[in-house]
């Protein structure tokens, strides 16, 4: 089964994202910050990451950077309340496959994840 790791410190957002993605039958795992996410990536090797940026302990940018440095190439979608163009650009520069603003729209999120798996 294709697996997706949702990384967000807000349970409200994790619940919303999980509900949207479960409709497409993915196996869903959750982490509340970048450090937890790293641990899950090492243990379970998810097929896709969906991550917030602003989180305690390790933020989303640091998570993507660390994964890159450790050679753990996982397609990553950023979902953030941060609507700054500079943040979007930074995400893409780090190699994010997509950058979606919160609150995510169900169709847009499901379509984006499907596109990640179609490559």
């Amino acid at each position: 089964m294709i697996s997706v790791l949702i990384v967000d410190d807000a349970a409200f957002s994790r619940r919303m994202i999980r509900k949207f993605l479960q409709a497409d039958g993915y196996e869903i795992w959750e982490a509340t910050n970048g450090k937890e996410a790293l641990s899950i990536v090492r243990d379970r090797a998810p097929d896709c990451l969906v991550t917030d940026i602003l989180m305690p302990d390790m933020n989303g940018f640091e998570l993507i950077q660390t994964l890159k440095e450790q050679g753990l190439a996982i397609p990553t979608i950023i979902i953030s309340a941060d609507i700054q163009e500079s943040s979007r650009q930074r995400g893409y520069n780090l190699g994010a496959a997509a950058f979606i603003n919160k609150p995510p729209k169900e169709d847009e999120l499901r379509q984006t994840v499907r596109q990640v798996f179609s490559f």
Binding site: A81, D82, Q84
Partner: protein
Amino acid sequence: MSYAKPSDKFLASRGISLVKQLTVDQIDALKELINIGVGRAASLLNEMVGFPICLEIPFIQVFTVEDLQQELIARFNSNYLATVRLEFSGSINGSAELVFPTESASTLVSILTGEDLGSPDLDAVKIGTLTEVGNIVINGVIGSLGNLLKQRMNYLIPTYTEDTVENLFAAVEPDDSTIVLAQASFTIEQLQVIGDLIFIFELQTFDQLIAAIEEVA
């Protein structure tokens, strides 16, 4: 509702000349930038709750902390409020707050989570839900401001607090007790929810905000 504005003499006694620095055009431009951001934030809130959000035109004011406290107590008819605060820094420093009466906070969480008002589960999810709502809404405004002014903003983790108005603003240092305030009020009529978005810019960096506005205006 009328708002008390500190006199120029009062401001001068504290070494504040900001009011004189702000021209009508600058206030108009700042108000419009806040308006654009608040409009975006209202759209995001509307997406989340599914009811129309009514906005009042934001106003820009120089307040003392005491003025702000009195204003909030009068507007909400309560001394006990719920707030989500997001501090930002960069070329412009300050904080933004989503403020509402605790009843409005509970109603919002009930709508967003489907939990019944008065349910013990409502309290359990309240803090996390409202913090995230505040995060999304405030980012809508501050991010919009940053994008328009081409100024990078860095954020701290948002925090949720329910407390008296005095305690909510107790952390403001005496030296910074005069604050530049942009305030936008909103109402969700169908839910009887009211709230304010408050932006507090540090005086030290406000000149940079004005300079950035003049560059794009």
